[in-house]
Symmetry: C2
Subunit: 387 residues, 2 copies
């Protein structure tokens, strides 16, 4: 194991009716910026619920609506402007990972005088941030309990992941009933995204981490059991509940305690891909991840084999290690396809045309991959396998 | 799942050399009460290390040495007296669970004007506590990252578990190398205690908790793989490391998120038993737990069967559910015996003589058992099975 600090400051309120804790967490008469997306929270009643709680503490509420699925720098800047003009002292994100990521961006940049983009590209350090809470309406990214955010600069077509210990949510409300109306495609992408986070954690190279490896395997098995049931019964509170807790746990630090953190190359490639094509993040991951497995197992099949046997139901009997690993990659692709995730880049009408740009954007920050360090040709290989 | 709040305020610094973080966590020139046990920390160098860090922040250090294996009220009171007389503002526990539990008692009672025992028996509410950190030297109780403590009133022979959100350690240093010199019997009791905590969590009655159930099973399998290796190679840093992280995780809240918290009847019975006989807690648990399993499976074998199959390596093929469950209880007893834990009460020369008193002390607080609610006759049955 590596040395590590285990400490997550976010208070997670999980379960039906927990939204009431907003009134305990946000100080009376705060000046709150409410951040949300395309308006689904108005249709499903969550907006009204949140406003009710904010009224109860006599908050002065400002709004930033219309945060995009891949949240954009321009929207962050709009939020920062409101914060500065209106003296906002608390942010409340109501939505999925994109809304929360955008709120993290605003919270960091509101305390900074320069360009927000400089903070996300590490040109300037993040030294403080406005406090914020979240009300989650989509089980997917885990942003509700971690210090990570992804922001897209639409002008330069750069999508960048960044993190800072200052942007942990102070609290997050996870009420599974708020996810009952999530559309089928978003539900599927959420399952893929959560599983990808667990998979990226799994591909570390730290010796002697049996318990955490077992936790990751257990989380993945739970997602594979629950995923198909949820897709068949999207109105099931129990399945929504399971996936909501799975997705938060997949990326809140639990799965990286003592490891090198895992290999996030697939996320890096997907960010580059969806910066160029604006496709859903979960869809991009579903296409890329099995091909990343196929790429790395050629060099070292051991870990993919372990995944195949312990999680993906592949029998190792009488087979070479590499054969078992290959069947594992195939089984993961088949599983995701079975719940409705895309199979190939051509499902999005994507061809080789912009591969060079995608490869370059993958390396927008140096160091891609740790289980297997990637160079330009390995990223290109994965993209080609994904055609 | 039940609704729950997931938030553990303790900062866990895990790994070699982490003791240096004392200087970041305790304010300069603090007045510190250093709490420790029988002096093993002087032999293995941990005392010297801790003092070095405290000197670096120019702390004024007072000492409370000699905390007993089952820490006593009288020792807590001695600590409280020092705190009040010397204006202590920070406590540092260096030792195992007993030292930490004693420190929790001191930290709660130092801010209280009445009798300390009233706080532990819930006659008076705990409204604040002195902050404290811990340096762990024994992997067992999990006290280093939870709000729970057990104190024995030696005059009345009552041993009571209590908890308060005010007595989470502010930080805990977990350096596995500090456990390399733990004697064999303590090592074994630590394995039993950690596994018991996980087992007690496992016996909840909350539906739809597949991921957490899987986490518990994974933790138990890790303990069963590592335990025998550690007992054979007590100088192995890697095995110490694994068991140290297992024991903290077994009782830091991770395993009860969303469940009813599990069934702690065995711990309650053991506390009564070791209040009367002053035997090692882990030894008492090793005797009692398989008999608790045998007792409850007669009524409902389903969960014991699941444990038997998923953790204890029992094959269910062609067997009745109750048969598989019985083999599970037997397998747990056999495993603990194989690493050197006691088998029966007679190993401690304990007979029926004081059973009545033990049963009564088990009910010192009302409500024993949730998976199966116990009455006096069921506790007596478990004790008789343990003879």
């Amino acid at each position: 194991m590596h040395t590590f600090l285990q400490h997550n400051p976010t208070k997670l309120y999980f379960g039906k009716g927990q939204i009431e804790y907003i009134t305990k967490e946000i100080a009376k008469e705060s000046r709150v910026l409410l951040v949300y997306g395309g308006g689904s929270i108005k249709r499903n009643g969550v907006y009204k619920e949140a406003i009710k709680q904010l009224n109860a503490i006599h908050a002065t509420v400002f709004e930033l609506a219309g945060v995009e699925p891949n949240p954009r720098l321009a929207t962050v800047e709009k939020g920062v402007e409101i914060c500065k003009e209106e003296g906002i002292n608390y942010l409340l994100a109501v939505g999925g990972g994109s809304v929360i990521d955008c709120t993290k961006g605003i919270s960091a940049a509101a305390n900074y005088e320069g360009e927000a983009w400089d903070l996300f590209t590490q040109k300037a350090p993040i030294e403080s941030a406005l406090p914020f809470g979240t009300v989650l309406t989509l089980a997917a990214t885990g942003s509700e309990m971690n210090p990570v955010s992804v922001i897209t600069n639409w002008e330069s077509k750069d999508k960048i992941g960044w993190s800072s210990s200052h942007v942990y949510p102070t609290f997050s409300i996870l009420d599974p009933s708020y996810t009952l109306s999530v559309p089928q495609d978003q539900t599927v992408y959420g399952i893929v995204d959560s599983m990808s986070h667990a998979l990226e954690h799994y591909f570390h190279r730290t010796p002697n981490t049996p318990m955490i490896d077992g936790f990751i395997e257990s989380l993945l098995r739970t997602a594979m059991e629950t995923g198909p049931n949820l897709v068949e019964n999207p109105q099931s509170f129990e399945h929504r509940e399971t996936m909501m807790y799975v997705s938060t746990t997949a990326f809140n630090g639990t799965l990286s305690n003592g490891t090198d953190g895992g290999d996030w190359a697939t996320h890096r490639i997907e960010h580059a891909l969806s910066a160029v094509y604006d496709i859903p993040h979960g869809g991009g991951l579903a296409v890329l991840f099995p091909n990343w497995l196929d790429h790395v197992l050629e060099e070292d099949p051991s870990r993919v084999k372990q995944l195949a046997v312990n999680v993906l139901g592949v029998s190792p009997e009488g087979k070479e290690e590499i054969e078992v690993a290959r069947e594992g990659a195939k089984a993961l692709r088949a599983f995701w396809n079975s719940i409705g995730a895309p199979n190939r880049l051509s499902d999005y009408s994507i061809d080789e045309r912009h591969f060079k740009a995608i490869v370059e954007k993958t390396f927008i920050k140096p160091g891609v991959g740790t289980y297997k360090e990637m160079d330009h040709s390995s990223v290109l290989d994965i993209l080609k396998r994904s055609l």
